[in-house]
Amino acid sequence: MTIPVQDLLAILPELVVIGTACLILVLDPILAASKKDLLAWLTLAALAICLGLTSSQMTGRQYAFSNLVVIDSYAAFWKLLLYIVTGLTVLLSLAYLKAERLNIGEYYGFILLALAGMMVMVSGADLLTIYLGTELMSLSLYVMAGLKRTEARSLEASAKYFVLGAFSSGILLYGISLLFGLAGSTRLSVIAEAIATQGTGNPILSLALVLLAVGFGFKLAVVPFHMWTPDVYQGAPTSVTAFMAVASKAASFGAFLRVFVEGLGGVSADWSILFTVICLVTLALGNLVAIVQTNIKRMLAYSSIAHAGYALIGVVVAGRQGGGAASTGLASVLLYIAIYSFMTLGAFALVGMLRKEGQESDNIEDYAGLAKREPLAAFFMLVFLVSLAGIPPTAGFIGKFYIFMAAVNGGMAWLAVVAVIFAAISAFYYLRIVMVMYMREPEGAAASHSRLETSPALSFVLACALAGVVLLGLFPNGLWSLATHAAPLLK
């Protein structure tokens, strides 16, 4: 058995990530407890190498390992985004794990293994590869969600995530097996060909479509498959929550779009109806339930559900229109998720490091008077929240603007109108926190108030997230041209 060298070169970034993960797992027991930071720096070094390697894969389209893996600009776009958010998560964890006194070197190994799963997902050209990538990502995340073992809530999050995740994987597999029965292969290109030659009349195809949509719906956390999200996001350690809310969502969108556009593009008329419904209920439920939350992690969880709804608008438009409107729609999804990543990561970073008496203070009440105690932290939070609400000149506005423009140009202005209404509703709960921070006086003694535990790593994360939110808001053209270059073609 020989493996062609060009195949190995194609997956070099994956190999670097996996190799570093194994190295970390081996080094962890050898290193003294005081030197565990070294593992984080090792992770960052691996990510930097991958950033360089993947940047060189931005052009062309190359298949590897008997067409099971595809290396193209679409995969490269998601991978670059994933490296950046993973790097920021690692830096955040450096501060967060110390504050929580969670001394686990394996943590970084698991982050890298989850990242490897995500990379396999976004560059999978075969349902089997995509499924296994999803499992690798999910299993790592289940473990990471339960790392705060002394807290019942963290264990509950892990168990709940595991059970529901296992169910969703089962449903995804049912869908894949039906598609295999139809096309005789799990390869996306073969499935697309089979749909083109056999026509779309077969009811089994619709059944497979629904099952795949449900399976991916769980991973994307869209209504009605969102039930796990608030509990898991609240219970998991905040650095892990940030990683789940951002990286896992981005990777799931990457795999989801690849499957539905490249594999099931022939039945786009069917799935666009399905996703219109999912998109509408997601926008409604995500935004309305977020209003009544008193815990900021739960609120951000519902907010992340709602944001998946906005991104789905682009998918719906692409499926409905086809052709030129489709690629703008898909590019706007890519842009939206990239922007969403920065603002959500920034918000979670602040939530994790605002602490009182050694504990995380994640009740919205704890934010009262923050502007007086920690003016800079309050300002950062203000920018992230304003961006999440989609108010110019922040990046959040740009993301929504491109999505809504795609909807209007695609002849679905009504959908854009509905989304704008929900965006206006969402401003209420985002700005309520701003009001609490700036207008409300805190209760109780000053010692019991939450403060930001600063460290150089955290400052760097916040600065990066803020720079992302502000700069992408002012100069979105670079990212937009990258997204249009990377967006997949819907035939």
Binding site: T129, L132, T150, F180, G184
Partner: protein
């Protein structure tokens, strides 16, 4: 003849899977599951997937079921009444979904574009050899990803079950 075997295996699988969730004593459920695993293996034999049938029995009936029984006995799980009040809602939704799936399946028989999956010809070398060859050539990449999944599961279980994660004085 094939049909008789198929309906026998499929029928027993359907009945025993129902029993797994319907029986109230977890040990009985586990035993019903055991019977189901054996009949699934039988189904594989009728499809000439002998290797899969053997794996089914070794892995599922042999290893996984024994684990189940250990857990049931170690935790001393009593008959569980808590979840049975969900029956009306779950039953209604289940029946609706089943009807829909069956309807779709019937329609697809009459649909014009039915195609049977092209069966890969199993070479004379035999089942096990063919699977081994394919796993180490065509499907090498997913095979290696699967090995990583096992690595994560193993280390994850150790971390969650064993290690003392907190440094310094332990919190209450």
């Amino acid at each position: 003849m094939d049909h008789i075997f198929f309906f026998y295996f499929a029928g027993v699988i359907a009945v025993t899977s129902l029993l797994v969730v319907a029986l109230r004593n977890p040990v009985y459920s586990a035993l019903a599951l055991l019977i189901m695993f054996f009949h699934v293996a039988g189904l594989y034999v009728t499809l000439h997937a002998e290797f899969l049938a053997a794996v089914q029995i070794v892995v599922y009936a042999g290893a996984i079921l024994v684990l189940y029984l250990f857990v049931v006995m170690l935790l001393n799980v009593k008959a569980e009444e808590r979840y049975h009040d969900q029956l009306p809602v779950a039953g209604l939704l289940g029946v609706m979904l089943c009807t829909e799936v069956v309807l779709l399946l019937i329609q697809s028989r009459t649909a014009t574009s039915v195609s049977a999956a092209p069966a890969d010809p199993v070479t004379a070398a035999g089942n096990t050899e063919t699977i081994g060859e394919v796993l180490y050539s065509t499907y090498l990449f997913p095979f290696e990803v699967a090995s990583l999944i096992l690595l994560v599961a193993m280390i994850g279980a150790i971390i969650l079950a064993k290690k003392d994660l907190l440094e310094g004085p332990s919190e209450p």
